[in-house]
Point group: C2
Chain length 351, copies 2
């Protein structure tokens, strides 16, 4: 069994779709950027340095309590399609898909805790949890951070904080983000105002699934953009408190939708569910829209025979590399539309 | 139990959806226009004359073998909404919905044989059968015609044939029509050419469900327009032979659709079926389009878990007066969209 197959043999914990506010918040993620003292940053390291760093970090991470029995995936040993698959699972950055030599991913069973080695920084630790769980995630990553700091010694300046390859991460090196589903705010057109408000408090909002991507299915990724001049704890607190405000707006939008257009809304939700359960060709964009409607239906108590965990799994599994791995061959987009529809049907009709 | 409830208590035979070419031909209908000798035509008759004619015809029809134990529905005794309901069942003309005094409908159990009394002509006999069945229908109506002629004596001229109120019916008084489903020809854009060809041989083509109505769901009504200078048997033969040519074109169109766009076609069919089984609001026009796609799916062997008879019943039952009768009250169109969707779902999900 290849290390990728081993990873895929256990479903990712964060897909469970539980946790606080799980109907609106798919997941929270915290990430810490760290670098070893007395080693050049990744982008100015030669192959030998990179291998030294790689070896040192792999050894240190493997022994931590937070990671448990981690899978170690050396990027040089796997195919580009497999790196793309890891990116689809939110374990690898796009950058590392391309720049993979002397780089590794360490990931625990359940995929909640992972470390990219030799990405832009020597270490990019990540904790990914279901629901509104930034504090929990932060507790876990802090423990890992402390443990690793003891073994490895991280580059730190008393004046600036943690030193990172890119100035945008200097200070805490902390990026907290949440994947949220805001169909109510999109529908009532308040989403623009909400996004402006979040930007005003220095939060970044993107369409789901990657940087700069189009908003699909009303999924948004909200993350902090400030790492300097705030404590880590404040960053997490602020993020949660702003998120909660957004969720309040979304709840109100949903309530008013139900009040003012219940029939139309129910029709849209049930149709979307019906199409997902019967279509033979589904594009990525349409799939996201349909899943969004069904997810809203679950949140409103309209759809009761499908679990959030199944929808979350579908979101991951209908991505190109996941579909291709299911059938163990490359496919053109049109063929993937068919395989995507097949997968969705099999998942939703099993109930 | 009212006479209308009695009628509705037994499903119409022609909805069975059996008979020759049943996948493309919903039904065939033959109609004979006849008038009593020595009585003024309906439109120039006073109330007393109309009542005399009405009584005479009711008595004669009630005793015929072709009609069996007929229901007698006097238009004066029922509501306008009930007359509209009878029109939706294809038993009454729109004209008779409006002009109803001293008029009657006689209809057998199963609704295959019926006679409108004092419509434009004293008698408008109708036989309605499932599938490509114009000859059968003609045999039945001829027997009724002969039987009634013996009792009543029909206005007839040796030079012109049967005399009728409108010159377009003089001669045979025979109108043969077929309700056909031609999605293949609509899709490949050959429908225009086929309709032109039919008009060239003096056949009339209309959208389904009434005169001048928009084509919905790719259903077309094809009927003869000539009643003078042809024998009745020739009219029926010609109609069937032209219909068979149209059906050949439709079959070829379906085959080439399957060959060239099977995936897209299957997707469209299954989606339509999925929407019908799940939507909460369906307009008449959308319903017809979706039913058309599922009907095509049955014809192509793609959809196997729904019967033509159920789709046929849906076509009748989702009309406004039928929906209102189900719930025994008047409804606005938007509310009917909901009730329509409910009815369709209950029918298709019972499997």
């Amino acid at each position: 069994m290849s290390v990728i197959d081993e990873l895929l043999s256990v479903p990712a914990d964060w897909l469970r779709g539980d946790g606080e506010e799980n109907e609106m918040v798919l997941s929270c993620r915290v990430r810490l950027a760290r670098n070893l003292e007395r080693k050049p940053f990744t982008h100015i390291s030669g192959a030998e340095d990179l291998r030294d760093i790689q070896g040192e970090i792999k050894e240190a991470v493997a022994g931590t309590a937070a990671m448990g029995e981690a899978l170690v995936i050396d990027m040089d040993d796997i195919l580009e399609t497999e790196r793309m698959l890891l990116a689809e699972r939110r374990l690898l950055s796009q950058e590392m898909v391309q720049k993979y030599q002397n780089r590794s991913l360490l990931v625990n069973r359940g995929e909640g805790v992972s470390v990219m080695v030799n990405e832009a920084d020597h270490l990019r630790m990540q904790v990914l949890e279901s629901g509104l769980s930034a504090r929990d995630a932060f507790r876990i990553i802090s423990a890992l951070d402390d443990e690793l700091d003891e073994h490895l010694g991280f580059a730190f300046s008393d004046r600036l904080g943690y030193l990172t390859a890119c100035t945008t991460n200097v200070g805490t090196g902390l990026r907290v983000s949440a994947m949220v589903h805001l169909p109510g705010l999109v529908h009532n057109n308040d989403i623009r105002q909400v996004i402006d408000g979040l930007r005003h408090v220095k939060l970044t909002v993107r369409g789901s699934y990657g940087e700069g991507s189009e908003v699909m299915g009303n999924f948004f990724q909200i993350s902090n953009s400030i790492t300097l001049g705030h404590t880590e704890a404040d960053t997490v607190e602020d993020m949660e408190s702003h998120l909660k405000k957004v969720l309040e707006f979304e709840k109100k939008a949903r309530e008013s939708l139900l009040r003012e257009a219940r029939s139309l809304l129910e029709d849209k939700i049930w149709r979307s569910y019906g199409i997902l359960k019967s279509a033979r060709l589904v594009s990525p964009k349409e799939a996201m829209g349909l899943i969004s409607a069904v997810r809203l239906g679950i949140g409103l108590g309209i759809v009761t025979d499908v679990a959030l965990t199944d929808l979350n799994e579908i979101l991951i599994m209908i991505q190109p590399m996941h579909l291709q791995r299911l059938h163990d061959r490359a496919m053109k987009p049109e063929e993937r539309d068919r395989i995507r529809a097949d997968f969705i049907r099999s998942k939703l009709n099993k109930q």
